[in-house]
Symmetry: C2
Subunit: 146 residues, 2 copies
DNA sequence: TCCTAGTGTGTACAACTGTAAACGGAGGGC
DNA sequence: GCCCTCCGTTTACAGTTGTACACACTAGGA
């Protein structure tokens, strides 16, 4: 079901997200088109974007396919996997006790569709059956609570 | 003049999270105690931790108070603010259309208490009244959808 | 055939991160 | 008074990220 992650994907930097999102949306794309699209949002030089592309290939997040003179770039992981992986990575840094509060803040601030909300509600109903009364803080090596 | 909190907090690196969590939990702490606590989880040298402390002070995430020979370190932002800020920063990188799915994945994977779930459910019920049918993708400069 | 425009590669360089050794000043024990 | 220990400061160094210039190669037009 939910595309959970095989524990920590490559770290994706903010600039890299911008390229990746375009690649994911287009599926396959030539560097030229990507550069043009990106330059409508960011004033990065061609060079900068080419460097970022190269690094993403090195990192294994993009792969290339030679078409005549040029390369077609495609992502090697799905957008969903990347999003879930990054979100989980972030949550790994948070105090276990306070993850709920952070989630609540996100729910308050993110724009959600009717359908998103319905799915979240369903998930919560399922989850409530086995949810604990409380979750201990895991910030310190001993069991001191915060 | 303090406290002009700009919309995004200082970036906190993974290593820095580890120190910050201890500081938040203890409120005020001497470097010695912090180092001892941290070394029960990470095998970092004293030096490494002292460097991280110094950088956190430079970044303005920690402040110091001189007590005799030593410094007491305290956080300048609340843990909640840091968590919410970081989570929001991450979500800023995601396709607007798919934020809901990412949230759903988190809800599925994070351990939540009964109370967390109740609060989330309340927030969702509130939100459903004004939620849109759909949220458009914002990955590309034109309105092409993914 | 030769130049040109388009695409990828090499190189650069400053800032930030992870990691840590070495140094310097001060208070406490001898 | 002297040295040791504790704690903060300096310095170091490799790897990553942001940003970009310059170069090399090739297909197609002049």
């Amino acid at each position: 079901m939910s595309e959970s992650v095989q524990n920590s994907i490559q770290e994706i930097t903010p600039s890299e997200w911008e390229l990746m999102r375009i690649v994911w949306t287009k599926g396959k794309i030539y560097s030229r088109e990507l550069i043009d699209l990106l330059q409508e949002k960011r004033s990065w030089s061609d060079s900068t974007i080419k460097t970022l592309l190269r690094r993403l290939v090195q990192k294994g997040l993009l792969k290339t396919e030679k078409k005549e003179r040029r390369f077609l770039y495609t992502a090697t992981i799905s957008e969903t996997a990347a999003m879930n992986g990054s979100a989980e990575q972030l949550f790994d840094h948070l105090c276990a006790m306070k993850k709920g509060a952070t989630l609540l803040n996100l729910v308050d601030h993110v724009t959600l569709t009717q359908d998103d909300i319905a799915q979240l509600q369903a998930a919560l109903s399922r989850k409530v059956k086995t949810a604990p009364k409380q979750v201990p803080c895991d910030c310190l090596p001993n069991d001191e609570q915060c």
